[in-house]
Symmetry: C5
Subunit: 103 residues, 5 copies
């Protein structure tokens, strides 16, 4: 899975009917230092994530594994909102602080 | 999923029979500023998209999740025509304006 | 799916038995200007493609969607021979001309 | 599969319910010389791997093949802890030595 | 599928139980000139390949299509040992010669 930060939203009224009712978010992927890699992905929200949150994105067929989503045509879903990340014994990110500490 | 702009069409009469009746479009992938990344993909149209429209492309096995497409050999499908994109609280793209605003 | 040009063939007698009888081709991937990207893929031929032809390659599990191929261990198949490609209203490639027009 | 070194952990309380009870680790991918490629992946631990260990990561739908994980929305899992790697007849890595030998 | 050369072996005793009995090889990916691309993959051997051989590697869910491997957590398998490769009408590689001819 990939680390990312929710940076935006996409609105589309003309879409595959199986997408009806789902929220589409833009997730900018992050390095382990919390910086944008420059890549982004449009992902389905499955857990109530919002702009500004640091999340985990799952890709491929696994993006359809959430309850009741077997037939939804998506290849990226947000499956977790991150509380903290620890690398080499040091806390890099803590949600309560809303910030990353450089490695 | 990826953001893209439909830029062309592909015609192929000699093809896998399960592709019969489907329209194949060329989608140029876009950055979050609406610029071409330089990459493109040939995608199946599942919602009536046309050249010039900004769309969402789904990849992999999920590209076969639209109704009645279970056995079609495709790895990229257009699943939505985008109305608007908002990034960091600012509208970046609006279909009605047919343009992107730089971030 | 990707645009490519069939540039070669691979012969392998010692192989997974489910591959028996299939033809393995080398496909060099193309830009939208018809130039090689430098990347290639070994793909199964499912429609009688030959060296020199411009084709569409499908990847992943979708490469197994052709009739009778459910259990064949392949991740890339040629599913169409291209007749013509039109980009931004201009014909870029026509099979009958055997050439690409720069964009 | 990819070679990697477990470098960190991710904590997330707000997550897809099917992820409950699984440990999420950060794996930094390695070159064949044992150096970080700069890329990382968040992977599910299926075998009791810990920070500092050199492991094998499997991606995509295969990441869901471990016992009882069919419906878990993950696209990367740690499936092995490496004892040794031999390249071109020379031992490159040995777990008991905790080090890589340059090629 | 990708062209590669088997360059090494990986030993892991602590691993997912479904991997028991399978051989894990390191495959260095090759350009069409037979040079290493610099990328490698850990692949399951399904046909008795050994170090030094030029092979075809299949990725993703298709890597599980060999007989009896449906539930094995692998995303790369060696499915063929290459006898010869012909590009643009010229033999580039012949196993009996153990060498590549530049294009």
């Amino acid at each position: 899975m990939d680390l990312g930060r929710v940076t935006g939203t996409v609105v589309a009224t003309q879409k595959n009917e199986r997408l009806a009712g789902y929220k589409l978010l833009i997730v900018s992927l992050l390095t382990l230092e919390g910086k944008p890699t420059g890549a982004h992905v449009v992902a389905l929200d499955t857990i109530g994530a919002g702009v500004g949150e640091t999340v985990i994105v799952v890709r491929g067929s696994s993006a359809r594994q959430a309850e009741g989503m077997g037939g939804v045509p998506v290849d990226a879903s947000i499956i977790a909102i991150i509380d903290s990340i620890e690398v080499e014994g040091t806390i890099r990110y803590r949600k309560s602080d809303e910030r990353w500490t450089m490695g």
